[in-house]
């Protein structure tokens, strides 16, 4: 059962023949194919990794831009609000000024009218007084001296120190 003979050498030769045939026709192309696949997978994974990094960078950029845009919009809104407030205030101020000016001019006009009315009244009083005095005195009081006299009298009525006769 343990007789070692030439079969040992024959088996080694058999094995070597098989190995060389397979190495030449099968293993070489197969191992090359496996190596090519490995390198392709590695290259693909590296490409995917770099793509991922680029995408992340792009996304970050876009997010930054979006944030900037939002901030700018906020600024524009604030500026518009401020402008609106300022415009409102200035319009209000103008309106108030206009109102005051109109009021003052109206008051002035009223004052002027009143003065004019007073002067008219004063003339009327003078001529009425003259008429009344002429009736009382019995003669015409239309000379220069009479008019002057009555006017002085009437003006004394307005005097603040007022030694009013009546």
């Amino acid at each position: 059962m343990f007789n070692i003979n030439m079969t040992l050498i024959a088996q080694i030769i058999n094995f070597l023949i098989l190995m060389f045939i397979l190495a030449k026709f099968a293993y070489k192309p197969l191992l090359q194919m496996m190596e090519a696949r490995r390198s392709q997978i590695v290259a693909n994974m590296e490409a995917a990794e770099s793509d991922k990094l680029a995408a992340a960078k792009l996304r970050e950029e876009y997010e930054q831009q979006l944030a900037d845009a939002r901030e700018q919009a906020q600024q524009i809104l604030e500026r518009a609000n401020k402008l609106a407030t300022e415009t409102q205030e200035s319009m209000l101020r103008q309106a108030r000024e206009e109102h005051e000016r109109l009021l003052k001019s109206a008051q002035d006009q009223i004052e002027r009218e009143r003065q004019k009315a007073l002067a008219d009244l004063r003339g009327e009083v003078v001529s009425l007084s003259m008429l009344a005095a002429a009736k009382i005195v019995g003669r015409n009081m239309d000379s220069e001296a009479d008019v002057k006299l009555v006017r002085e009298f009437v003006e004394k009525l307005d005097d603040a120190s007022g030694n009013r006769p009546c």
Partner: protein, 220 residues
């Protein structure tokens, strides 16, 4: 009672060969060749079917080789792959009724083992130079020379007898069990032998790698 017949016959010049072993070995060679050719007939970048299976086996073995021998041992891949496939088909062919494994013959297993150990020394001399490689026999001290020689001789012996013993014992036990208990148990033993065949082929290949790795290491 003789369980195995190697068909020993004298051929020209008084040389004896085991004809049965040689015939079954040629069948194994044909099967291995057919399997590998079938798998690599139409190589695809995206593998499928037989190519996928063979690539898984090769990937497994080359991975082990890289771990044992490093990248510089890569060129030995065809050797290890063929060794594994040859032994695997040899071991499993014994499961077929009427056939016997070539590995139940000590000539086959010892032949493979001697070839592996010779490869170690040939590669070692090629990689590191004759004197540097042989200097390992007198390390760490010249007194260790006998021990180193015994170790070097025991390597192919253990490698050969482990495989031979497992396969031969498996086949003998299968016959004996078949005679003693005709059902169930021989079948169970057949299944077990199937696993043993794979394992022994793998063990032989891995130990060969580990021996071959000595040819690539400089300091040990």
């Amino acid at each position: 009672m003789e369980f195995v017949h190697y068909g020993a016959r004298e051929i020209f010049g008084g040389m004896t060969v085991n004809v049965n072993t040689l015939l079954i070995t040629w069948l194994v060679m044909a099967i291995v060749f057919a399997i590998v050719m079938l798998a690599t007939r139409n190589l695809q970048m995206i593998p499928g079917g037989a190519q996928n299976v063979l690539e898984a086996v090769i990937d497994f073995l080359t991975d082990l080789m890289d771990k044992n021998m490093g990248k510089e041992g890569r060129f030995m891949a065809p050797f290890i792959i063929t060794l594994f496939l040859f032994l695997l088909v040899s071991n499993e062919l014994g499961m077929v009724p009427g056939l016997a494994s070539p590995t139940n013959d000590i000539n086959t297993t010892l032949g493979m083992a001697v070839m592996v150990v010779l490869s170690v020394h040939i590669l070692g001399c090629r990689q590191k130079g004759f004197f540097h490689h042989m200097s390992h026999f007198v390390k760490p001290h010249p007194l260790f020379l006998p021990i180193n020689i015994i170790e070097e001789v025991s390597k192919p012996m253990t490698l050969a007898f482990r495989l031979f013993g497992n396969i031969l014992a498996g086949e003998i036990l299968l016959v004996v069990l078949g005679v003693l208990v005709p059902f169930v148990i021989p079948t169970a033993w057949l299944a077990f032998s199937f696993v043993v065949g794979i394992l022994q082929a793998l063990i032989f290949s891995i130990l060969s790698m580990s021996y071959l790795s000595n040819a690539f290491k400089s300091g040990h």
